[in-house]
């Protein structure tokens, strides 16, 4: 255990060292080859711009709007995915009838249908929440269906042999078994939620980090665009980290080495 922690620390140190090296090379290259900040700004310029956005308070309303969209969209998408996924998994008729259509719906690129949602739900918060929820919905739906199918047949026999009812088997075996796959879906959905919100804002918005990127891009403020990208990826990492934390807590019996998804 101790050795493993030591190795973990060492690996983290190596990863940080690599990041520092890459940033230094980037900075050096920008100076050395005199690259225009309109094409690739130096890391130092991005850092200064990021500080400027935060210190002036300019970023906060945008950050707040996007964060609300992401969290609400994620929550609604996950809830819908869990409920519909459970219904599909537990009622075979529904699975046979509805699942093919849901899969077909999934093949639609969300970016392409985003403009429709703007028309239906307006330029405000609602349309972004709907798009984000839709993007999060499918990974959860698929993971719930796959999760319920993943129940070990021998375990089902074991429950049956000890006289479990269908309901008892569901609660005591099938749901906990499915959780492992569902948490993998949650990790994916957490990252996709950020993409969903930004897609919605790109198509039509008056506030939000996606709107801010479009605006900064328009005024050729490339360091500003990079600065917002850093903020966005921080949100994504935080969402993903939260799911990881929850997974470690609620599916503790799966050791990380056996995790279904390695992001």
């Amino acid at each position: 255990m101790n050795a493993a922690t030591k190795f973990g620390d060492l690996h983290r140190l190596q990863a940080i060292l690599l990041a520092i090296l890459v940033l230094a090379a980037w900075q050096g290259a920008c100076r050395l080859f005199d690259i225009s900040p309109l094409i690739l700004p130096a890391p130092s310029a991005i850092a200064i711009r990021l500080y400027g956005l935060v210190a002036s308070g300019e970023i906060w309303p945008h950050l707040w709007a996007t964060a609300v969209e992401i969290v609400c969209g994620f929550v609604f998408g996950v809830l819908a995915g869990l409920v519909i996924g459970a219904v599909i998994s537990l009622i075979p008729v529904v699975e046979r009838l509805v699942y093919p259509y849901l899969v077909a719906l999934q093949t639609l690129p969300k970016v392409a249908i985003a403009p429709l949602f703007i028309i239906w739900f307006g330029y405000g918060l609602t349309s972004k929440v709907v798009i984000t929820a839709l993007v999060c919905f499918f990974p959860i739906l698929v993971s719930v269906v796959a999760g319920f199918h993943s129940t070990d047949r021998d375990q089902l026999d074991m429950m049956k042999a000890f006289g479990a009812t269908k309901w008892q088997t569901l609660v005591r075996l099938r749901v906990p078994s499915a959780l492992v796959v569902i948490f993998a879906g949650l990790e994916i959905a957490a990252v996709l939620a950020v993409i969903g919100a930004i897609v919605g804002e790109f198509v039509g918005a008056q506030v939000g980090l996606g709107y801010l990127i479009v605006a900064l891009n328009f005024s050729l403020d490339v360091p500003g665009v990079f600065a917002v990208l850093i903020v966005l990826s921080t949100i994504g990492l935080a969402m993903h980290g939260a799911m990881r934390f929850a997974a470690r807590r609620y599916i503790f019996w799966i050791r990380r080495s056996e995790a279904p998804v390695l992001v």
């Binding site: 026999d157 049956k160 000890f162 008892q168 599916i251 503790f252 019996w253």
Partner: protein
Amino acid sequence: MTTPMLRAEGDHADAIRPRSGQPATPLPPLIQIAGLDKRFSSRSGEIVTALSNVNLEIADHEFISVVGPSGCGKTTLLRILAGLEQASTGTVTSGGEAITEPRADAGVVFQQALLLPWITVLDNIMLPAQLKKDTSAATIKRAESLLEFMGLKDFSRKYPFELSGGMQQRVSICRALMRNPKILLMDEPFGALDAMTRESMNMELMRVWSEERKTVIFITHSIPEAVLLGDRVVVMSPRPGRISEIVDVDIARPRNLQTMGTPRFGELCDRIRTIFGASVALL
């Protein structure tokens, strides 16, 4: 059947066990299998006969080993006894009643321990009782005494993944004993364990059997294991799965690992090997 771990009837039970085909007791056998066939239809639609005309009577407190190569239907036989599969033709009764679904009077130990990884060892053992809404103090006490009996007392709050394979299988035996069933059905329970652990588990099982006085049906593909444990060894052969012969093990109990070095033990093992050889030659 409410007293846990019956110790008293030790020698007495030995006396009522039938020997060499002549039953010493007028009681009807606990389990009766008559004219049992089991057919499966495979994916391509053809009918596969897993068991053909199986006849077997098992007395109360008897330890029956079932040995045979893979594909001889021994697991299917056990699944039918456990109520997990239905006979295609023939009758299978336990205590005079047909086995049509899993019954409370039989506990099953599977090849894998099949513990639920998200609950503790104690909760895993309690599972069969909890499924029947029985969580009285006496039940918890029974679970704890089973754990102690199996040398797992210090592990009751641990999770299955914190235990070795042998310990997990011991938990699974405790779970099967939890509701104090008359019959213990074991499907190659030690097949996945290493040889050393397997031997100690064999000793452990004999201790359980002599203390708890269950009727045991023990599936294995190891001839020495079958002879060491069983009162009788049912030798099965494949395609279609059927009983070739039933061998009486006339070796006195208590048996231990030294028993495996005795000439009689070797003779019985050889005899079973000869039966296998004969059935292979017929194919």
